[in-house]
Symmetry: C2
Subunit: 369 residues, 2 copies
């Protein structure tokens, strides 16, 4: 019987995620599994919460990793905070804004959307107009739109939402660990993220953080959360307090992984981590432009960790991606939705965000062109 895992090759992951994993995170994943109620494990859980609070710059007590990938984080936020009939506003300028509207709609929310051209940011002035028209139970926006490489102006949107009674939900899947995520400064009520972007950890967990206001809304719902697995009113009893109540069996080894990845990020120091991303991003853009490529997003709105580059006429983009993967063991990402076939998405996330990787990629790309 052939074991397919023998064919797995070390790959430089420069797509939209997963990104390359830190060597000590691999070691963490392979540590001995212990029980989910073992005091040694509870101590690890407690520190994961503290690490996440530091990284998210928040004092929110309910700051925990959810047992699923980033999209499970999105689902968790909406299913706990939204009740049927709630008015929800979703700001959309890419796939993940669209996904939020879909998630909220399935839960019975009345979803209004405000759409912006893909590759451009959310425009606060238009948000302001919309907020003057109607009161929303919840306003949702993506910080780092992974489908386009745009950084949305969360600071400015936050200032507008602060003047309302609305809950403020921010997707930080791709931003967390690559650019500052300042939950308390934003007065964000709920954020979610993933492990497989700037945290240098494989996909599998979704860190979330809920403000007191969000917790209060969750605890005072008219009906039970219509999702047992992601019901935070029960999950908190496993993550908090003196007697930890079993809810579902925690994904032990993935939690070792996120522990180690947060440990690495905080040991390096947040400022160092952010500037490493920025430096790698600028080097990548310079290399791409020197090869004649044009970036999709205007410089002032570019994310460092997700670089969308336009495909010049006459280039078979899928062929080059396949060539990069098969001949150079480098993965980059394709465009999604209206940008399919028109852009590549080149990730510079977490352990990938190092100058040697930019050089390796640039040389490989040159040889493919």
């Amino acid at each position: 019987m052939k074991n397919q895992l023998a064919t797995v090759k070390e790959t430089l992951l420069m797509g939209p995620g997963p990104s390359s994993v830190h060597p000590t995170v691999y070691q963490a994943l392979a540590k001995p599994t212990i029980g989910h109620l073992d005091p040694a494990f509870i101590a690890i859980m407690d520190e994961i919460k503290e690490f996440l609070q530091q990284l998210m710059q928040t004092g929110n007590r309910l700051t925990v990793p959810i047992s699923g990938t980033g999209s499970a984080g999105m689902e968790t936020c909406f299913v706990n905070l939204v009740e049927p009939g709630d008015d929800v506003l979703v700001l959309i300028n890419g796939v993940f804004g669209m996904r939020m509207a879909d998630v909220a709609g399935r839960l019975g929310a009345n979803v209004d959307t405000l759409e912006f051209e893909w590759g451009t940011p959310v425009v606060p002035a238009r948000v302001k107009e919309k907020l003057n028209e109607k009161t929303y139970a919840l306003i949702a926006v993506v910080h780092a739109e992974t489908s386009t490489g745009v950084c949305n102006p969360i600071d400015e949107v936050a200032e507008l939402v602060k003047e309302t009674s609305s809950l403020f939900l921010v997707d930080t899947v791709t931003s967390l660990g690559g650019i500052p995520v300042t939950v308390d400064a934003w007065q964000a009520d709920a954020v979610y993220s993933g492990t497989q972007k700037c945290l240098s950890c494989p996909p599998g967990l979704a860190p979330i953080s809920f403000s007191d206001k969000a917790v209060e809304k969750t605890m005072n719902r008219r009906n039970k959360v219509p999702n047992w697995y992601l019901d935070l009113t029960m999950i908190v009893n496993y993550w908090e307090g003196n007697t930890r109540a079993y809810h579902h069996t925690a994904p032990i080894n993935m939690l070792y992984g996120i522990y180690e990845s947060l440990y690495c990020v905080l040991s390096e120091g947040l400022d160092n981590v952010y500037s490493r991303h920025q430096k790698a991003h600028l080097a990548l853009v310079e290399a791409l432009e020197s090869l004649g490529f044009e970036m999709l997003v205007a410089p002032e709105f570019r994310l460092p960790m997700l670089n969308s580059v336009k495909i010049p006429e006459g280039i078979d983009e899928a062929k080059i991606r396949m060539q990069l993967l098969q001949e150079h063991q480098i993965e980059i990402g394709a465009g999604l939705g209206p940008l399919a076939g028109k852009i590549w998405r080149i990730g510079v996330m977490g352990h990938t965000a190092r100058m040697e990787n930019i050089e390796q990629f640039t040389n490989a790309l040159k040889s493919c062109l």
Copy 2:
């Protein structure tokens, strides 16, 4: 900065799960992360499906691991198969039957329950009466009740359900890989399981299998599945077909883990695996009885992989559990619900189910008494 992971000690996991992990599964978890659309990864996914089909004894095409722990598998089955107003019957003789009723109720089902004393099995004659009274959209039962150690007579219940039009849903979280799970013979329409019991893999994934009838129900719902993350109508497009459509980023390294664990089980051979569990179980029961302990469940209904033993008068059960963990690095489980404080739950699952472990545990227990 102290790294808490350095405190993790190899532990013999003899609780209700997680169980001890196979050494090559740890190695698999630490293999290089590759992209979720990498052809090498798609090949691994395809083989995971085939392995699961063999283990579950089914030809069901939709047989995949869900990106969450066992309870996410439960949630997936109910949220895809149940619509508001559907009549659902749940057979309950422990925590996990209760959980199914809770999950179904949150989704708007009209839930009837049929309850049996904890520690005893579901009684087919009573199920038959109930099915004569009313027609159900779905009937749900737990194969191996982890909270009590009872094996429910799924063969007999299956024969009754076959005479109805109902969908038949079976929880195989603790049974899969320890005793035969025969999905097609049962004509089960949906089963779910977990990795952390008899598969010798850490918690984090939930294998499920849907029959054609269940797929048809899912694809013809009146409304979208009210859970984006677990919506099988989209998830199948990532797991099947020539063009794999991105849904959520798959938990790559956990999928390496389940690949390896299934590879181990199938390489050893199902009959060998089952008899290894049975042998370890009988040795454990003999050892416990020779020490004067009494089993909770009658011999003919005992699960090999989950052994409930009554706590004799005058024994401080929590103290002994703590002593086993701290002095011997052996974890056993406490009772749940009405059985809290009254039983221990001793797991003999997966890589734990080996004679040397029974001996190690027996010696440790003797020294604690």
